[in-house]
């Protein structure tokens, strides 16, 4: 009787252990998956941000160049109130 009870108990223990190991593995798999998903998400966010930064740089450079165009400068230059001329070549 005693022998049989101890066998049952060891079987129960091994079943519980296997369940715990399985649960631990599942938890690890989930953790790895979550970390992977998180990393992918971060990379996507970074790439998106970098793309928008490049767009910003292009827009900023375009604004800079546009502000230096003869049309943009026309008004400021007309404020010069001294003698106007065509310049001379030598």
């Amino acid at each position: 009787m005693g022998y049989r009870r101890s066998v049952d108990r060891s079987a129960e223990l091994s079943t519980n252990g296997a369940t715990m190991i399985a649960m631990g593995l599942v938890a690890w798999v989930f953790a790895v998956l979550a970390a992977g998903c998180g990393s992918v998400l971060l990379v996507l966010v970074y790439l998106d941000h970098r793309a928008s930064r490049i767009d910003d740089s292009i827009a900023s450079f375009r604004r800079h160049i546009d502000a230096l165009s003869p049309e943009a400068r026309h008004e400021s230059m007309s404020h010069g109130n001294s003698t106007q001329g065509d310049g001379r070549y030598f």
Partner: protein, 334 residues
């Protein structure tokens, strides 16, 4: 609400441009101070009239020499006076763009911006004079072509190659039109034994000075003090003598232009031959200078229609388009 402004803080003249209004002030960069109590007595034209004619306790000085600040305190007072005269107070805090020589040191840079902030500016930015000159001279600097500008001021000669809104090559020497005046003073003292003042030397330069032989060779009667007898004396100077006297500073200016040309990328060099170089600044108005630069470099030289105002007009354009052109200011990172 204060209107933002641009200042061309030159060795010879100071010009102020107010956003939406244009150039409102154009005066010599001179300040007269009472040495006994430190009070400012006059600035600009009034102070200019006092140079060399003041009692010992009054000093009429130029706070900038050779494009460098010689007296930080006096410079700060002059900037404060300027801003007050155009309506800046503690309550109206405008943005200010100040044109400075490109060879300015970090200490001078900080001194100028601090002076403007202490005088009431909410934000003070600096821009290099050749860059401002190129904008003000209406050069097509928004295009990918080489634009060369030579800015000859009172204390510096700055040559820059500009393309696509930025400086490609830059060369600056601390030689300007005041060095030409000094050369004339030294020549008259050495060869004729007569002492003349700064203003007389400048008048000689304007009347008969030239960097290259020009058609109309004149001579002028000069009054000064005989170094031997100490009595007033009149002498006659010819244009050829003056040309000989000023050859050294003129040669330095031409050499700096050549150095800048040699720094320019070959792709842009061909643009100079086709488009020429632009001459701005009061020093560029010396007769025969454009011809001499053109002769020695084999590149055509064009005089800006507004040589004295080009720099402040360029800075004025930056203040009109402050956000878009922020990247042009010294120390900014585009």
């Amino acid at each position: 609400m204060a209107r933002d402004l641009a200042i061309d803080l030159g060795t010879a003249n100071t010009l102020v441009y107010i956003k939406g209004r244009g150039i409102v002030l154009n005066e010599p960069s001179v300040i007269a101070v009472n040495r006994r109590n430190g009070e400012v007595l006059a600035t600009g034209h009034d102070a200019w009239d006092m140079i060399g004619r003041t009692p010992s306790y009054i000093v009429a000085v130029r706070p900038l020499r050779g494009g460098a600040i010689t007296d930080f305190d006096i410079t700060e007072r002059m900037i404060r006076q300027l801003l007050q005269r155009v309506g800046v107070s503690r309550f109206t805090r405008p943005k200010v763009v100040i044109c400075v020589p490109s060879a300015i040191t970090e200490v001078e840079r900080r001194a100028v911006t601090d002076a403007a902030r202490r005088a009431g500016a909410s934000d003070a930015q600096l821009i290099e004079q050749p860059m401002a000159a190129a904008i003000g001279a209406n050069l097509p600097i928004d295009e990918p072509v080489g634009n060369m500008v030579i800015d000859i001021g009172g204390g510096t000669t700055e040559t820059a190659v500009i393309s696509l809104g930025g400086i490609v090559a830059l060369e600056a020497v601390r030689v300007g039109s005041f060095d030409i005046d000094a050369a004339i003073q030294n020549y008259v003292r050495r060869e004729h034994g007569v002492a003349i003042g700064e203003r007389t030397a400048e008048e000689i330069k304007i009347q008969i000075g030239s960097a290259d032989p020009v058609g109309d060779e004149r001579s002028a009667d000069i009054r000064g003090r005989d170094l031997v007898s100490g009595l007033p004396k009149t002498i006659r100077l010819t244009a050829e003598e003056v040309r000989f006297a000023i050859d050294e500073p003129v040669a330095s200016m031409v050499l700096s232009v050549k150095r800048c040309l040699s720094k320019a990328p070959p792709e842009l060099a061909q643009d100079f031959l086709a488009r020429g170089m632009y001459l701005v600044g009061g020093g560029g108005m010396l007769r025969g200078l454009a011809e001499r630069i053109s002769r020695e470099t084999s590149v055509p030289v064009r005089m800006s229609p507004q040589p004295l105002e080009a720099v402040v007009l360029g800075a004025g354009h930056c203040i009109e388009n402050y956000q878009a052109l922020r990247g042009m200011f010294m120390g900014s990172h585009r």
